[in-house]
Amino acid sequence: MSKRSVLTFAFMLVAGFASPLYAQGAGDSALTVEIAKWSIITAGFALGIGAGLAALGQGRAVAAAAEGIARNPGAAGDIRGVLLLGLVLIESLAIYVFVISLILFFLQPFSPKA
């Protein structure tokens, strides 16, 4: 399949999923259900990707810190300080994704207020 046909197919698939949007005003509760469904899917994926990538970054930081301490045990205190600071800063990025997921999941800010 050519790339153009794949893209057209994907566009039609996504547009088909959003079909209740086309019912102007008649399906308010259907729109809420649609938005709730997409919010849950998005929140799950966002959190999975965010947590996974943050874990990768933290793993690299811990590995570098462990190697640094192994090479120079006298600097263990300094390295531990840098490690903790770096870990918390990386983790805060995962926390931002978590907060957005919470907002999407529980508050659903874009569904029409019944």
């Binding site: 983790e91 926390i95 907060v99």
Partner: protein, 268 residues
């Protein structure tokens, strides 16, 4: 979000005692109270922390002794010494004037984080209002200290270009600095809020599934992350203070061209 928890009895007691007074004062100033509880949960917890810390300090003050200090005095002195050591390490001896705000924030956040693990209480820091308050306090404080240390012209000049860079770089550098400083408020508040609220949410869910023994590992993790988040908030406040204050020694006549203490990583 549906109410996963029942109302805490201490919140209801405080609302019964102080509620009518706050309601009359608030409505006299034109504020309409929406929810049933006039004083929200996080405010009651903050008042609890204030009362506890005041009582603790008065108690220790009455038993201060240089020759034979009690255990509590030794612990508190160690805490103050630890924060002072951090200030010394990052800002230098001039940093001791910032000890009151930084140490109070650290103690407040530490106690706030640990209150969530006590049954019958909840963390005030699990509410975005409290963490945003702490973050805005730190933000306003370090800008104020920076202006006080360098004068407003010198302080704004450091937003335009880092020291030693040509002046035209400000066109690119100024928006980056503005965005970076504004992001500090968001990052400080959201980091603390997300950690503590998320941990409380997970413990809540675990309690609603298996109330016996299973939430314990999560609560132990809550002990670790509570301490870590308080320490990180204090450390980041000190780093922002250093960024705002410690650049003034660049043209010292004695030849010291760098402030004592290490340089901060690019902390957003």
């Amino acid at each position: 979000m549906e109410k996963l928890e029942h109302p805490l009895w201490i919140v209801q007691i405080v609302n019964a005692v102080l509620g009518p007074l706050v309601r009359t004062v608030g409505e006299a100033m034109g504020h309409h109270f929406t929810s049933h509880d006039v004083i929200p949960v996080h405010m009651v917890m903050v008042l609890l922390i204030v009362a506890f810390v005041t009582a603790l300090c008065v108690f220790v003050r009455s038993r201060l002794s240089v020759e034979s200090p009690g255990t509590l005095q030794i612990v508190l002195e160690d805490g103050v010494g630890a924060v002072r050591g951090l200030l010394d390490e990052w800002i230098g001896p001039k940093g001791h004037q910032y000890l009151p705000l930084v140490a109070t924030l650290g103690l407040f956040i530490l106690l706030g984080n640990y209150m969530g693990l006590v049954p019958g209480l909840t963390s005030p820091t699990s509410s975005i209002n409290v963490t945003l308050g702490c973050a805005i306090t730190t933000w306003v404080y370090y800008h104020y200290q920076g202006i006080r240390a360098q004068g407003i012209v010198g302080y704004v000049k450091h937003f335009w270009a880092p020291p030693g860079a040509p002046l035209w770089i400000g066109i690119v550098y100024f928006p980056i600095e503005i965005i970076s400083h504004a992001a500090r408020v968001m990052s400080l508040s959201l980091r603390l809020f997300g950690n503590i609220f998320g941990e409380e949410l997970v413990i809540l869910v675990l309690f609603s599934l298996v109330p016996f023994l299973i939430p314990l590992p999560m609560m132990f993790l809550g002990l670790v992350t509570g301490l870590l988040q308080a320490f990180i908030f204090v450390l980041l406040s000190i780093i922002y203070l250093q960024g705002a204050v410690a650049v003034e020694h660049h043209e010292d006549e004695h030849g010291h061209d760098a402030p004592s203490g290490r340089q901060a990583p690019a902390a957003a």
